[in-house]
């Protein structure tokens, strides 16, 4: 029973990371019907840049803020330079390749300059595990779902209550109509990518103390986040969050009861199977194709 509780807690904590990344994908997809395919690298920047800025002498939170800011800027640049020109026409796929190119560049240049080996990011929340009904967890792990919840609520409030958020929803719903009422859809899309970049970097910063910040920390996690978003039906924020948490828990139980080595093979296979059963995503709605 204690073991199950332990897996559940660490699963939810890992799932919170997937959910945050999936949320980033959701924000990008809503605005552009395209994403930064290698979003995992923006997530990585959050962790790595925090470490670098801290080593330069900045206090932890300031370093994190700086990293998030830089990642948000990177998100905006990626949108402007690598996504927008390659996202013309309904079935454009050029953005997939260009964002893969830029992701490759980010990751390999980080490896070359920062080094291939991960570095620790010490925080006070990793000092001592707390006991929770017999299960031992670090506060850093517990904080992840809390931040996720806050992030989801803040995002919903942003979409519903602020002018910018409403404009973003308008663009998501109908780009042309949004343009007709005076919304600069291109600008909004760029802001959305910056927002997603910030979300991803925040997730990277939060997870870095647990996994160590390395140039390769984002690749697989980013892909999992994207899969999670797609499986959930990418147009539904709450669904995306739920699916992220579930996937994290699933992984921990696979690790515990089946095999650590085969965790990803099993996890990905399950996702492919789910997509087979729900081509529109579990929480997605079938879009009526206009003929």
């Amino acid at each position: 029973m204690e073991a199950v509780l332990q897996y559940l807690i660490t699963g939810i904590s890992a799932g919170a990371i997937y959910a945050m990344i999936a949320l980033g994908f959701y924000v990008m997809w809503s605005a552009a019907k395209a994403v930064n395919f290698t979003f995992g690298d923006v997530f990585m920047l959050g962790g790595v840049l925090t470490v670098v800025l801290r080593e330069m002498g900045l206090p932890l939170l300031l370093a994190a803020g700086g990293a998030i800011l830089i990642a948000a800027l990177a998100g905006a640049v990626i949108e402007r330079v690598f996504v927008r020109p390659f996202n013309k026409g309904a079935n454009a796929i050029g953005w997939m390749l260009t964002t893969i190119a830029v992701g490759t560049m980010i990751e390999s240049s980080t490896t070359a300059t920062y080094g291939a080996i991960g570095r620790a990011l010490p925080t006070p929340l990793m000092d001592q595990p707390v006991r929770l009904g017999g299960a031992g967890v670090y506060l850093q792990e517990l904080i992840l779902p809390v931040v996720l919840l806050a992030m989801t609520l803040a995002l919903e409030a942003f979409y519903r209550r602020t002018m910018l958020g409403r404009a973003m929803r308008a663009v998501a719903f109908n780009r042309v109509a949004a343009g007709l009422v005076g919304i600069d859809a291109d600008r909004i899309t760029m802001v959305a990518f910056a927002l997603a970049g910030g979300i991803g970097a925040l997730a990277g910063f939060l997870v870095a103390p647990i996994v160590q910040a390395s140039s390769s920390m984002g690749v697989v996690v980013g892909l999992k986040g994207f899969l999670v978003a797609i499986i959930a039906g990418i147009a539904n924020a709450r669904g995306v969050v739920m699916m992220g948490l579930m996937y994290g828990v699933l992984e921990k139980f696979v690790e515990a009861y089946l095999s650590t080595a085969a965790r990803d093979a099993i996890g990905f296979s399950v996702m492919i199977l789910i997509l087979l059963l729900f081509p529109q995503g579990v929480f997605g709605r079938r879009e009526v194709q206009k003929v």
Binding site: I93, A112, V219, V220, I230, I272, V291
Partner: protein, 614 residues
């Protein structure tokens, strides 16, 4: 000299160059090439085979695979495991090295090709990660990081297949033979109805479905073929290196393969070979970059996409076309032009006096919105039936139900005396239903003639193997399809535009082409969705003559239209819809006088209108 002949000559030169390369040293009197260089060329040829397969997928079917390296690796591991563990012969293991990845490809493609683009990308990435994960962790079976070593040297007909410069290198020529076969297969598929169907599905799903093409099957086949090529490359690779492990087949390799396709020019015949040669050469250079090598790949990929999105061959072809095309004025022919041989189009109409379409209380709801509400209508064979009504009355929705694009929430559709229950558009097209679209849906990057040839897709009987081997029946059918396409082009007056890209046609011509393409299906029932919209007065006159001509020859036509003069001139019967319901039906004259119709159009019947003082 036509581009095709230039291409074949270039291929011949390439084949001779590769074939002669091992003997270069004898010519210049040096010890070159050594086994090392021979192996490099062999590896490049193997990659080219894989890239040709990927080119079919990306360039024709418009689908992106980001896990092609895993399929390549699957072929390699199938070949390696079978010969190492099960003692299979070279030939036996090669057959399975092609077949198993091909099947895997079909399995992977099936769920994802229904929803385009991103999904397949994600699924293929996931597959690639699963593949590497299994290879790395299942040490007992695959050797893990140390891989599978010491494969037995392959033999064929008792002859060992060698790859050493000084003794024997017959395997080199075997790979060359496979490469040439791959080039041939690429050509044979691209220039056939299969290749056209793949391109059609990529450029307009709706139009392809309306012309009898099963999109899911087409894309699944495309992926299976492309995976088969990858498997072939993998099998050849394993038997060359006699050692395999997962490191050769990671995500980075998938990107490399994709980059080769795009660099060469996706969808072009020479692109894969040129892209592979250039990038494989560049890789040898990039290796000197050390830890910045991957960065170099990223830069290269971005540069190619920014500067040459069509790739080397594609850009060259575009340049050549621009230089060659003198601004030649082209004459648009008169239409409809009932030339000889067109009888075939209307040779098998629905039986005279039959009800071609019976729609029985059709209701169509989208969530809370009822677009069509209990509409019944009957259309006699050989008649022109107009469906009119104000905007949003449900006319197009009705047309979409009849052609299978929407599934009716309630009600029954009977076509040609046959109850069709939720039949897919491509099934209905094969029964004899053709349609045009309100917003013309052409295959804009295919030529005008090719657009019409896609319309003839379902008339072919030659199967895939016959097509691949170019057996007589393929040639016969292709010739007759081309002849019919030319007759249809003449019919709508577009003969001189046959080789133009459909997307470059002026609007009116696009409408003509869409109708000609629909007729290539030789339909019994033709559905036209606002064919007159955007046409000039003269063009509308011609359209009227065309529709009447078709009906007089036995074809049934259902027409959704706003243009009142046209409806009066062409229709036998009219059904009027408003808010999804039938408000009047009958002959043109009867409907015109119906007060409900007038009210639907003008808001208020004239009888109640306040007279305006003159």
């Amino acid at each position: 000299m036509s581009a095709r002949i230039t291409g074949w000559i270039a291929l011949l030169v390439l084949a001779l160059t590769i074939a002669g390369f091992p003997w270069l040293g004898d010519l210049i009197g040096e010890r070159f090439p050594t086994s090392y260089e021979l192996r490099l060329v062999m590896r490049a040829m193997i990659l080219a085979i894989v890239v040709i397969g990927l080119n079919l997928l990306v360039g024709l079917a418009g689908l992106v695979s980001l896990g092609q390296a895993a399929l390549f690796g699957l072929g390699a591991h199938v070949a390696a495991l079978l010969s190492l563990r099960a003692g299979f012969s070279f030939a036996e293991s090669m057959v399975l090295a092609v077949a198993i990845p091909a099947m895997m490809g079909a399995v992977l493609a099936f769920p994802s090709v229904r929803v385009r683009g991103v999904y397949l990308g994600v699924i293929t990435i996931a597959f690639g990660l699963i593949f590497v994960n299994i290879l790395r962790e299942w040490v007992g079976f695959t050797g893990g990081a140390s891989g599978l070593a010491n494969l037995p040297r392959p033999t064929l007909f008792g002859e060992p297949l060698m790859a050493v410069r000084r003794t024997s290198f017959n395997y080199y020529y075997m790979i060359l033979a496979f490469l040439l076969l791959a080039v041939w297969a690429q050509y044979a598929i691209a220039y056939s109805r299969y290749g056209r169907a793949m391109r059609a599905a990529a450029q307009s799903e709706n139009a392809a479905r309306a012309l009898g093409i099963n999109i899911v099957a087409t894309r699944t086949v495309a992926f299976a073929i492309s995976a088969g090529f990858a498997g072939l490359g993998g099998g050849l690779f394993a038997n060359l290196t006699l050692f395999v492990n997962y490191e050769s087949f990671t995500f980075n390799t998938s990107i490399e393969l994709l980059l080769m396709v795009i660099l060469g020019g996706s969808g072009t015949m020479a692109g894969p070979i040129i892209g592979t040669t250039v990038l494989f050469g560049a890789t040898q250079v990039l290796q000197s970059l050390g830890e910045w090598q991957t960065f170099g790949y990223g830069v290269l990929l971005a540069l190619v996409l920014f500067l040459m999105p069509k790739g080397i061959v594609g850009s060259a072809a575009a340049l050549r076309k621009r230089l060659a095309s003198k601004a030649r004025p082209r004459a648009t022919g008169a239409w409809p032009n009932w030339g000889p041989g067109l009888e075939a189009i209307t040779a098998k109409p629905d039986e005279v006096g039959q009800a071609t379409l019976i729609a029985d209380r059709i209701t169509l709801r989208f969530g809370g919105l009822t677009a069509v509400n209990g509409v019944s209508m009957e259309v006699r064979s050989g008649s022109v039936h107009a469906l009119i009504g104000p905007n949003g009355a449900g006319k197009s929705s009705m047309l979409n139900v009849v052609s299978g694009f929407y599934k009716a929430t309630e009600g029954k559709v009977t076509l040609f005396g046959q109850l069709v229950r939720d039949a897919a558009p491509y099934t209905l097209a094969r029964l004899g239903v053709a349609r045009s679209f309100q917003n013309t849906e052409l295959f804009s990057e295919m030529s005008v003639r090719e657009n019409i040839l896609v319309g003839g897709h379902r008339h072919y009987r030659a199967g895939f193997l016959e097509t691949l081997l170019r057996l007589p029946r393929f040639h016969r059918e292709e010739r007759s399809a081309r002849a019919e396409a030319d007759r249809l082009l003449d019919f709508v007056g577009l003969s001189e535009f046959a080789d133009e890209s459909a997307g470059n046609l002026p609007f009116g011509h696009q409408r003509r082409l869409e109708i000609a393409r629909a007729l290539a299906l030789r339909p019994k029932l033709l559905l036209l969705d606002e064919p007159a919209a955007g046409l000039t007065h003269g063009e509308i006159e011609d359209l009227i003559a065309l529709i009447r001509g078709l009906a007089d020859r036995g074809m049934t036509v259902i027409l959704v239209e706003h243009h009142v003069d046209m409806i009066m001139a062409v229709s036998d019967r009219v059904t009027v819809l408003d808010y999804g319901e039938v408000i009047a039906a009958g002959t043109v004259a009867a409907v015109q006088a119906d007060p409900r119709v007038i009210e639907a159009y003008f808001g208020q019947s004239l009888a109640h209108a306040t007279p305006v003082a003159a």
